[in-house]
Subunit: 121 residues, 2 copies
DNA sequence: GTTATACTGAACCATGTGGTTCAGTATATA
DNA sequence: TATATACTGAACCACATGGTTCAGTATAAC
């Protein structure tokens, strides 16, 4: 049985629910960046960007390290795996359900046809 | 180029960031349910559950229909597809990045060995 | 027609979010 | 040593969230 860390899922889906943060992840997938870099790219104050990075960090999607006065942000290892697993599992439940529905519809249709045939006789 | 509906992603990741709501989706993947059913199963007032269902509905993860006095909730069609696509794409960017890193490390390692060999001579 | 059921909406509460400004501290650079 | 850079933290703002209670309305059951 698959077991999820519910609080981590909470944190990471919440982190992904903001377009700026998704942009930051995209950016970091190209290259590491400082807070200043990111703040510039997303037209935001340093403080504002620091908060976003904090959210991503708490969700373990990003790690940071400070060297001298600059804090470098990079993607977290193993990121998005649990999230992808959750979504994939539920996509499967989803489609199983819709397949079942299809079968019922199919069944009703064929019964309908049979009834029509019976009536014609 | 893949194009995402950013505001829908916002809404659906936010909807997924709550364990109760993820539970509701799981429940609905087994069978349709009324607000009362769900409220009972998650030990919550009707009003509270109504709000959660509202969030899921606004994210188009769930649809509802009222017949008489009971509102039946069911999974939305096409749900989670865009979300899965976003996550998968970024998992790929992620691993591409880590692969690149691996190559660099590999390169450094082989250079180290070469240096060591040169020194020994 | 009365009563029970199922939902709905408004209002409230504490806490979190996305952003800001302002006033720092720490580290480079000239 | 003086100055510029890079970040940090506190405090504030308006608004959203996750929950409640209370007072309704609409529909079903007796």
């Amino acid at each position: 049985m698959v077991q999820y860390n519910e609080t981590r899922l909470d944190a990471s889906f919440a982190a992904l629910s903001d377009a700026t943060r998704r942009g930051v992840l995209e950016q970091l997938s190209r290259a590491d960046a400082s807070i200043t870099d990111l703040a510039g790219k997303f037209h935001m104050t340093l403080t504002g960007m620091k908060k976003h990075v904090g959210v991503l960090e708490r969700a373990a999607l990003v790690t940071t390290e400070k060297a001298g006065r600059v804090r470098t942000c990079r993607l977290g290892m193993r990121a998005l795996e649990e999230e992808a697993a959750w979504i994939e599992r539920h996509r499967q439940l989803w489609s199983a359900r819709f397949d079942a529905l299809d079968k019922i519809v199919e069944h009703l249709k064929s019964k309908e046809k049979a009834d029509a045939r019976r009536k014609r006789r």
